[in-house]
Amino acid sequence: MASKGSAGLLNFFIFNSKYGAREGEEEKKVMFYFPEEADIDTKVKNIGLAEAIVQFTSTFSDLPCQSMHTQKSRQLYLEPEPGFWMAMTVSLPYKEKTKDGQPYVEYREDDVQDSVFAAVLDFAYRMFKLFNGTFEHILQRADGDVETLKQRLGHFYNKYLLTLKLSQCDLLDVFNGIHFLPLDKNTYLRIQCFINQLEAAFPTVKYTAFLYNDKLVWSGLEQEDMRTMYLYLTTSLFPSYNLQEHQGGSQPRRFMTGPPDLSDDKAIGKLPRVFVSTDTENEECYLLVYRAMSATICMLINVKCQLNVQLCRKLDAMLAPQMTKLASDIKEQHYQRAAPPSTTDPMFKYIYFNHMNLAQQTTVHLDLQKRAGINIPQEIMRLLGDINADLTRSNHDGETIVKTTSDFWVVGKKSDSREFYVVINQKNANLIEINEEVKRLCTSHLNSVFFLD
């Protein structure tokens, strides 16, 4: 059988040329390298190549180097903080084929899109920053001891990288938006009122965010902080919690992070610390997450404040009744609303993203976290990525309508920092009909959104 492969992580490294600038000391540049077991020669060689490429392009371009394409792989670059470069190498999908009786390997360069993997690399940094603060911040706190930074990087990335599913990455990773839960005014105000009450009663709770299932209802965090936090909650914390609940079967834990047992004064449990930049840069907070039914509240408490089980008990006393009530109300309201939308209409699928509030919607993906895959062909998904990259590059409002050789219609619109992509599988339609269809879709599904025609 002919073998084939999909996109995978070949290596991932962080270096700073400031360290080990002298010849023979190159290995001091290495801040982090994955896979760990690679020999030092390989590490130094690969970092040397990345350095050379970055240096070479700067002869021509004032903008930083983004990617290197080779026959078999793709390397992405990011300089998130001055002097610190991150590089990620992705293997290209390949297929063994035969031509004139000779076997050869076909590497699919166009199947790996720069914009998608640049976003993956970017979020790898943001996620580190969320839990550790910036590289510079770590160095400052450790009086410039680079070993501390290396330890932190190793501790974080050796686990984080294993969770990446590169072959499933697509346009949604580029947007990395937030799914909001639409609610009626009344319920929304009740939630806000509840949060005000909470913050007034517990001044140590500095920031809050309220979610229902995987959708965000309210957040007091700065947008970029919330974006990274949302990604962490929905792709890491919630799934692992749900899994435990499934297996545990015992009394449901209210605190997803923090004390596992409120009657035990000594056990504060696992309590992650996060670094947010909502009020000040690199503000370190405890992340306390509480759940009642499907409603979740995230409470950020500055590490300088006292956080103990007693406080958690008090919080629980207030949260339990109110959260449960809110959760059941939302459920009811949502149940009534959930009936009409798109699931009944298989003719078209869409993705929507708003750059202003990071709101995103998709009917292309079977579930919000992309675990179950997509319901359009992969190459069409990539085409959406192409159109997005074109519209991003031109940096103006625009519209693109295409028909593929496989007779799919794809429409991409960008208007007033909103983007909207529709895939229509209707072979015999023509451009004008498709245009009408998309107009209808805009009014029925995104009625409050204005698109330039």
Binding site: H69, Q71, R382, T400
Partner: protein
């Protein structure tokens, strides 16, 4: 196609074959038979862009290099008395006296260059010394850095051969870096293809003995840039032949190839300018000078009847980068990429205007291993209409010169020459002639004939910056439609300043540019009318019949 009732032709065709093809985009467009379609095309209908694949490039050049065609012709035409060894018309450059060492090789290659024409000598001498060598002409100069497109040729060992901007001598370091990057990646059994930094794309092409690097901050995609580097590589082959190139580097890996390419810089410079302004190179198609088909027949027949010369492979007339006519030996076709090299040769050589010339040229797609001899002459006083007679016989200059006189006399007698000149004066045609409002510009390529047509550049595309922007839009359309793995049939794009429509079928490729306010319905009607107009004019705009000796 009959001259009468042409206007109704497309409808008739459509009526007779209601289900033309399943991939017709009915409902959008009245897709009839592609205008400009021909079963008997003079050019090879091969799309070098679609064929472009690294898998072919990487492995081994010899598989993709075309060789032996010239031998075949020589054998075929000299069957009678002459044995191969003493025929003067043997263009076998394998016979270069390699064994005698580098000096003689260089001499013979240099003599090739000097053959270009006597008048060229002066230029060659001037070019041999660097025209200027100021210190600001290197990587540190902002002017150099800000160039829109750089192209570098270097040898496998990293020796500079050519740089589009600046002086290669001052770019030794940066070229060394390029070579080092490529060979570093090669060491891990991989190959470097491209790098992206901001708006810049860096494209690397490794071919036999040479490394070509293109740096662009324009709209060209990496794939399109790669095609451009292929043209440049072919230009090297065209001057030296693939066999000679191989032999030189086999003898001395470190050879400074500039010694053999003295005087050839102008071909590279000119080729790169053509690439940036002439859509035909992007489309791998050729533009024909609009002419009545009767006139074109007269011209072709004048050549056929007056150039019955043994070993003459191709005879063609070129005017202002457009093809007027092409007559070929039976069985042999010209590839559009080769024709672009011929056009470049004519375009770049001022000296042809001074006297009829005799120059060797290698056409890589035809036969990369040897030279054809080209008799080049202008037929008119203004030096606009250029006749090229390409032969495998190295000693036929005087025979071909006589043939040229006869051809010219006949073209004058039948007023064909004045017809060509008046077509040139009419400056092609305007979009207004197609009578379609809101249509600003278009490119139409007939795929079966590898020919394309497009109107004059008019307002708002009169300034060079605007023309460059328009060309960028075509690059975008072409790139997005031809992305490998997800090709498109139709692309409609509303941008800031214009609306674009690209439409590709089996028969043709159409790229049209409209004003920004046109509606989708308007654009579709316009395109349908445009296709009907091209169909009506196809005899004038395209060469639909191939003429052979």
């Amino acid at each position: 196609m009959a001259a009468s009732g042409e206007a109704d032709q497309p409808r008739e065709v459509e009526f007779e074959q209601p289900n033309i093809s399943s991939d017709s985009d009915q409902g959008d467009f009245n897709e009839s038979e592609a205008p400009g379609k021909s079963e008997n095309a003079p050019l090879l209908a091969s799309d070098s862009f679609d064929d472009l694949s690294y898998n072919d490039l990487g492995v081994n050049d010899h598989q993709t290099v075309h060789r032996g065609t010239i031998h075949a012709i020589v054998r075929q035409t000299s069957t009678s008395s002459d044995s191969r060894s003493n025929t003067p018309n043997n263009v076998d450059h394998d016979s270069l006296e390699v064994s005698a060492g580098e000096e003689s090789l260089e001499e013979s290659a240099e003599s090739q260059m000097q053959n270009v024409s006597i008048a060229d000598k002066q230029e060659a001498v001037e070019l041999a010394a660097p025209p200027f060598s100021s210190d600001d002409e290197d990587v540190n100069s902002p002017e150099w850095k800000n160039q829109k497109k750089h192209v570098f040729i270097l040898s496998e060992s990293g020796k500079p051969v050519y740089s589009r901007h600046g002086n290669e001598d001052k770019l030794v370091t940066i070229m060394g870096v390029m070579q080092a990057l490529v060979s570093f990646v090669q060491d891990s059994k991989d190959s470097l293809r491209s790098v992206v930094a901001g708006e810049h794309k860096f494209v690397f092409l490794v071919r036999d003995h040479l490394l070509l690097v293109g740096v662009t901050r324009g709209m060209d995609s990496t794939q399109q840039m790669l095609l451009q580097l292929m043209y440049v590589y072919n230009q090297v082959i065209s001057v030296l032949t693939h066999s000679a190139l191989g032999k030189i580097f086999k003898q001395r890996r470190n050879y400074d190839l500039r010694r053999l390419l003295t005087g050839a810089e102008k071909f590279f410079d000119n080729l790169l300018n053509l690439i940036d302004t002439e859509p035909g190179l992007l489309l791998t198609a050729v533009r024909c000078l609009p002419l009545d088909s009767q006139v074109r027949d007269v011209i072709a027949q004048s050549i056929v009847q007056n150039a019955k010369v043994k070993d003459l492979v191709f005879a063609l007339i070129i005017a202002k980068n457009q093809l007027v006519t092409l007559v070929r030996m039976k069985k042999y076709y010209l590839h559009p990429m080769d024709l672009h090299l011929i056009i470049n040769l004519v375009n770049a050589s001022e000296s042809f205007k001074e006297a009829e010339s005799w120059t060797p040229i290698c056409l890589p797609k035809f036969d990369a291993s040897g030279f054809l001899q080209a008799h080049v002459s202008y037929l008119d006083e203004d030096c606009q209409v250029c006749l090229l007679l390409l032969s495998v016989d190295r000693d036929s200059f005087f025979t071909l010169s006589e043939a040229k006189d006869r051809i010219r006399a006949r073209l004058v007698r039948y007023n064909a020459l004045s017809a060509i000149n008046s077509s040139l004066r009419r400056t092609s045609y305007s979009t207004q002639q197609c009578a379609i409002s809101d249509l600003r510009h278009f490119l139409y390529k007939a795929r079966s004939t590898a020919q394309y047509t497009s109107p004059e550049l008019e307002a708002p595309y009169t300034k060079p910056e605007e023309q460059e922007r328009l060309f960028g839009l075509y690059h975008y359309l072409h790139h997005r439609i031809h992305t490998s793995g997800r090709p498109l049939k139709i692309l409609f794009h509303v941008g800031q300043y214009e609306t674009l429509l690209g439409w590709v079928t089996q028969g043709f490729e159409l790229y049209a540019v409209f004003g920004p306010l046109i509606t989708k319905t308007g654009a579709i009607h316009a395109v349908n009318r445009l296709l009907r107009w091209i169909k009506r004019e196809e005899d004038r705009l395209f060469i639909l019949n191939s003429v052979t000796f």
